[in-house]
């Protein structure tokens, strides 16, 4: 389909009801559309040059004149982030992988700590000392509830595990026999 309108000001009635006061952004914005801007693509110069990998939104033609260089993408989370940036900000395929990458990154962070010989002090990082000081009853209740739920899940899972082992025996599982149960998770 071809679009052929060349001079909108020739359209009958163009602008007869225009009202500059009908602008909800007044007075916060010096309103200007692209055609009123002498250079709508002006930007500071020079551009920042840096070897750091920067993931760019595909809704932009180029990187910005300056950009953050902190924590470039790396590891598995970095691969997921690179995948996410193939899609526009309009798509779940952009945002949901980024959230997944954030969670993967947390595990990577713990492994990084261990690789450096550091055991993360989760108690301190979560600021539990102030909870203990200012909110002790609720804090103890919350920790007890978490412990109870965790213990329940562990007991449930270990119970399932025992049942599964039992069912294998009933099927006549023999040592040295490589059947379905060895090659597929049950």
């Amino acid at each position: 389909m071809e679009n052929t309108i060349k001079d909108y000001k020739q359209i009958k009635g163009w602008g007869v009801d225009a009202d500059p006061k009908n602008d909800p952004t007044y007075p916060m914005r010096n309103r200007m559309n692209v055609s009123q801007d002498p250079d709508s693509h002006s930007h500071p110069t020079p551009m920042q040059h840096d070897d750091t990998e920067v993931l760019k939104s595909n809704e932009r033609p180029r990187v910005t004149a300056v950009y953050g260089t902190t924590v470039p993408p790396s590891g598995l989370s970095g691969m997921i982030r690179r995948f996410a940036f193939r899609y526009s900000e309009n798509e779940y395929r952009h945002w949901l992988p980024l959230l997944v990458a954030d969670r993967v990154n947390v595990v990577e962070g713990i492994l990084e700590d261990f690789s450096k010989g550091t055991i993360p002090n989760i108690f301190a990082e979560k600021g539990y000392a102030v909870e203990w000081k200012h909110n002790r009853t609720a804090f103890v209740t919350k920790m007890a509830a978490i412990a109870a739920v965790t213990a329940g899940v562990v007991i449930l899972l270990s119970s399932d595990s025992k049942k599964n082992k039992g069912s294998r025996k009933i099927k006549g599982y023999k040592k040295g026999y490589r059947g379905y149960a060895d090659t597929h998770a049950l």
Partner: protein
């Protein structure tokens, strides 16, 4: 240098990190002397903002001393005491030319839906923040503003975000003389929005929250009417009743994604992340507004979707306005208000802790412990 470091949801710590460097001729390096934890930092802290990378340093409210400037920096010099607006803004792009410094198009490569913000995830530009001893400040000719002689640095640090955001919330609400203004949220921004509503001529200011000590504070500070929404039944019905069954002329959402009050929103928005945060406050704001009224949104939500009654917005003829605050645009006016005593920002500071205790500071603010409203952190080199 010592800096706050994010390690995962609800896990932060103070660590030694490399010093920031000049990366662009318009960069400056600022030695931070005061830095705050903002309510919007909690969205990062809780792991709700996509592309929040482990190892990042948060912090978009800070003041300090200029330690180094790039060759093209002319507006500030080494030794100046500056307050740094939370937006990174170039001053030259199509949006900065229109005074929309919170929507700069030349500072955030990672997203077009939001301008760059110091220490606010890679979705907001990937810049390290000011919860550190030193920070890289790009476009130093535009954002950093010399703190006027005689201004208390505690006031100055609150001019980087809280005060302008509360003020712009009231400004966007289009308050006319005598209007009834309803503010959801009695956190620092809600408190400041309630205070600033009077500057625009409000006739009545009402604040809703469910934290009593904060309600008591804003009742005296703004001053205003306050109600605990846990004690009034349906908050929208309650507002209708106390506004002659009309609703409020202007409603401000100063809560954003961490809202409580509606289990469905809490579970889907905060626990399961099926929406971009809990939209309880925005939902209530739309339904509490008078027909033809204005809803002003400064509460922060994520970049995906939220469940709100958008049909009611159309049927009631509401105007909905929101934006990241254009701090630079508002600073001259707000500096005047602080210097002549109209506004007293530092009164909201309740806690002052060393940067080394950043994990405790986040927990205290997040869990609203010890009557915490606003926490200021002092880096070890602040008094160098």
């Amino acid at each position: 240098m010592l800096a706050m470091e994010y390690r995962g949801p609800k896990r932060v710590r103070a660590v030694q990190k490399p010093m920031p460097e000049i990366k662009h001729p318009q960069d400056a390096i600022v030695r931070v002397t005061r830095t705050c934890i903002c309510g919007s930092d909690l969205h990062l802290y809780n792991g709700n903002v996509p592309d929040t990378r482990v190892g990042s340093t948060f912090g978009h409210e800070f003041v300090g001393v200029v330690e180094e400037v790039g060759p093209d920096v002319t507006k500030i010099k080494v030794g100046d005491q500056v307050l740094v607006p939370f937006n990174v803004a170039c001053g030259e792009c199509h949006f900065c030319k229109q005074n929309m410094f919170g929507n700069c198009h030349e500072s955030n490569s990672m997203a077009t839906a939001v301008g760059a913000i110091f220490g606010y995830s890679h979705t907001a530009g990937g810049f390290d923040g000011g919860q550190a001893e030193y920070a890289r400040v790009p476009y130093a000719n535009v954002g950093p503003t010399v703190i006027p002689a005689g201004m208390d640095p505690d006031d100055a640090v609150l001019l980087t975000d809280v005060v302008p955001t509360g003020y712009q919330a009231a400004e966007m609400a289009g308050i006319q003389q005598g209007d009834t203004v309803l503010v959801f949220g009695a956190g620092p921004v809600g408190i400041m929005a309630a205070r600033c509503a009077w500057l625009f001529g409000a006739g009545r200011v009402i604040v809703l929250d469910n934290v009593d000590y904060r309600l008591e504070f804003v009742r005296d500070y703004a001053p205003c009417e306050v109600y605990n929404f846990d004690e009034i039944g349906d908050p929208v019905l309650f507002i209708k009743k106390i506004t002659d069954w009309m609703g409020a002329d202007c409603v401000i959402d100063a809560v954003g994604a961490e809202a409580s009050g509606d289990p469905m929103q809490t579970i889907t928005g905060r626990k399961l992340l099926l929406q971009a945060g809990s939209a309880t406050a925005l939902h209530w704001a739309i339904n509490s507004a008078k027909k033809g009224g204005v809803v002003s949104v400064v509460g922060v939500y994520g970049p995906t979707d939220n469940l709100v009654p958008i049909g009611n917005m159309m049927n009631k003829g509401l105007t909905m306005r929101g934006n990241q605050t254009s701090v630079k645009r508002l600073l001259p006016r707000l500096i005047d208000h602080v210097m002549n005593g109209t506004l007293n920002p530092k009164a909201i500071i309740t806690h002052r802790i060393p940067l080394e205790e950043v994990a405790d500071g986040y927990r205290m603010f997040s869990a609203k412990l010890d009557n915490c409203i606003k926490t200021v952190m002092i880096p070890p080199s602040a008094n160098k």
